[in-house]
Symmetry: C2
Subunit: 480 residues, 2 copies
């Protein structure tokens, strides 16, 4: 359930003009480092240069022969300075709120997992790009590429004592390792919602609605892997080829039709079967599918049921049948889906499906399950595009400023008592008044509270409301 | 700023009796796996066994020769099932709220960093236990052991355009790699607050107060590294030995006095100097310190100023001078502190200090800075001990249940409209009423909303308030 991004960093997607001029390095994360000359990057000399050199690591961009260290995070990874972090927090809050409304419980897993959880033989991109290595104890470990196998692991570990259905969600970072030729990122965050025990996930529509996205902006393409299974049956193709075929046909759009045909042929399929598969995948109508496969087929029944639910539950306008949707993960077994922007500019916004047989591949009893992964990148691009990102500027309630050093004690007490009332307070000391006014504007403070000698003698402070420029005196202990 | 834990998992610290019987594996995280026999662990057979075996990894506990895969997360790491996640979320919310009140901005960094950021020559434990490895591109990378160097990196990257002081906080996972002889964990989460540009951090006391911890439960030991610097000057010891001496004397309590003396002697110090250092470190009174070092010394002036601030700002009862506090990180330069439980049962709760020269070790201009790291483990042990953990049970507002399959549509609409009003709603289908009642109790639901045929014909639903067992009918569109 990975939807990796090669998008610009979150910083660039903010609606607000950044107040701080961006240094060239701030842009470095968004495209290949090759475009940036070393002299235009800020670099710093590490005091540890001699120790580092013992690693003799010439290939690294992080340490050169002189022990000069790059100020950027590792290739393909992001820092989140405050303005980017606000955006991320806001997005994650949306994910969490939707999950709460849907009565899902949050869980989490180590970002480092055993490699064995992700070794699958179907040739998926995700398992070919594992960020894996051997730890000092000789264990094969991996920075996880997706979260579903960890979920499955915990379901098995919890054992039969837990009551089904389990409705779990998680928001976590996922990793991959590939050559950085296209400046693609090596990490992203992903919201996962999974149900073990029953079949429905309706949260995606709820999230879109909360974000102000409508069904004319976004659609959800739905199909079922059982469509392909039915085609394989039509041509008497052995079922053990099923997963492999799924992973190959998922590459439609990335590879040409000829390349797909070639890959399918190489698994031993007849050219008739290959043509049959490709024809069925082009179908966009459920009744057409029924004509081709026949009405007795499980795939058709499942899909009809799903569309009739959608009708009843009022989200039919969000979904459409599209047989070409297969998804790239080996373990899907039934319904699969992905959300897309109707203008067709962006990659898939999220994707998921039913995976009823994942647990048995781990040697445990199967439990019907379905879920989705929702990345943090494409959705932000879409919101930007549609002008739906909220105001992301910093927001502080009060700045408290003593006009004299001897008033630092009282100013601090005022700050403390305001904080106890829940207000976000910046206590400023050792600055000039002019700086404080600039600072108040910069951090978007609501009020400025000045503690000056003549007022303080009377137990008073001066309050300035920054939006209206209104100014008044108030008793210090009557401040709210 | 690491305060690693060998504590039991969060699950065991919950006040609530877990409703679900714990399987033996759930305990595995809290002590060495060596104690757990393979037959008492749930294991699962991976379908990928043959691929895994190509790695020939005999040392791994995760894959044995038969391709049997462990259901536990990697050694020394934790899963967070829902009940543990609720506790973690609650704790992080406290960290975030205190940071917000203090007008700190949240930032984040990759958990994977360049090794070069953490290579320091002072012999700190933290740099000896790096979870480091070489990536496929030949770069030396590390799962970060602490967050401060990443903060410093981003400060440098942001450049002169940012306005000081920067007040940043972050909550992130930190890693270490050591032999797991004591069952110690390899990861923990840490709250960091750092100020670049000015010297004060008062948030710890605010957090304790919010958590219900008083100054008779917890104290903060304070000293300054300049105390040791003054002692070195008294004995004309060259300043380049300063950091090394700090790292050695921090081991007091872990090593015996004799071992410390031996390590200090091995740096070339005279036995006189060693005795002088050890005597000064035993001082617990600021006036005694002034007697020994003289009043002109910077260390004394700094500490006096800090204690007078604390007096003015009303947190003097939380802090005490203790010359033995040095902290184990190489880069501290001035005031250092750590919070401890007054009963003396636990390890340090958090620790921090001033690090005015870290940026120049990276080749950048120095900015005065201070900060602290606050782990997620010891504080939870303390709260448990004091009976201060809040009720952590799951909380759902409504369960909506259609009594007949044909009412699934209306039930779904009711759930949707309640969610739009902000209520957490669990829509239950395909279950018996008896199960639903049990389920309601298990997930701590407030209301049960039953959609039955005879009521629905009149546009009504039946509502049951689960705490009072009150039951009534209400118009479906009048539900709040």
């Amino acid at each position: 359930m990975a939807a990796w991004s090669s998008s610009p960093s979150l910083r660039h997607l903010l609606l607000l003009r950044p107040r701080l001029p961006l240094s060239p390095t701030c842009l470095a994360g968004s495209f290949s480092r090759r475009h940036i000359h070393s002299h235009s990057r800020r670099r710093f000399l590490s005091s540890a240069s001699s120790s580092m050199l013992t690693h003799g690591d010439e290939a690294s961009t992080h340490v050169d022969a002189n022990g000069v260290v790059d100020v950027n995070p590792p290739r393909g990874t992001r820092d989140f300075p405050p303005e980017d972090m606000r955006l991320r927090t806001w997005l994650f809050d949306q994910f969490r709120e939707v999950s709460r409304l849907m009565a899902f419980e949050e869980v989490d897993f180590p970002v480092l997992e055993s490699e064995a959880l992700f070794i699958r033989k179907a040739g998926e991109e995700i398992t070919q790009q594992l960020y894996n290595f051997e730890d000092k104890g000789g264990r094969r470990v991996v920075l996880r590429p997706e979260i579903t196998p960890s979920l499955a692991r915990l379901v098995i570990k919890q054992g039969k004592s837990v009551s089904l259905p389990l409705k779990w969600f998680t928001i976590g970072q996922c990793w991959r390792y590939e050559r950085m030729t296209r400046g693609r990122r090596r990490e992203h965050y992903q919201w996962n919602m999974d149900i073990f025990g029953v079949p429905k996930v309706r949260a995606i529509v709820l999230l879109f609605q909360r974000l102000g996205i409508t069904s004319s902006d976004v659609g959800i393409r739905v199909s079922s892997r059982k469509v392909l299974l039915a085609v394989l049956n039509m041509y008497s193709i052995p079922e053990h080829l099923f997963t492999q075929v799924c992973v190959i046909v998922d590459k439609f759009g990335k590879l040409t039709r000829e390349e797909i045909e070639k890959e399918l042929m190489s698994t031993g399929l007849s050219s008739e079967a290959v043509q049959g598969i490709i024809e069925v995948l082009s179908l966009k109508s459920l009744s057409k599918l029924e004509e081709v496969l026949g009405s007795g087929v499980e795939a058709v029944a499942d899909l009809k049921k799903l569309f009739s639910f959608a009708e009843q539950y009022g989200y039919a306008d969000w979904i459409c049948f599209d047989a070409s949707v297969v998804r790239g993960l080996a373990y899907y077994t039934g319904i699969v889906f992905e959300a897309f922007d109707r203008e067709g500019k962006l990659r898939a916004i999220c994707g998921g499906g039913r995976y009823d047989k994942l647990l048995s591949t781990f040697g445990s009893e199967d439990i019907p399950a379905c879920g989705f992964g929702f990345g943090d990148a494409v959705i932000v691009e879409l919101l930007k595009e549609k002008g739906l990102l909220p105001d992301m500027s910093r927001q502080i309630d009060d700045i408290v400023f003593p006009l004299d050093e001897v008033l630092e004690g009282p100013a601090s007490s005022i700050a403390s008592s305001l904080r106890k009332k829940g207000r976000a307070v910046d206590l400023v000391e050792d600055k000039r008044l002019k700086w404080v006014f600039k600072h108040a504007e910069r951090i978007n403070a609501s009020r400025l509270i000045l503690v000056g000698n003549s007022e303080w003698e009377r137990g008073m402070v001066r309050v300035k409301i920054l939006s209206t420029r209104e100014e008044y005196e108030v008793k210090a202990d009557e401040l709210d």
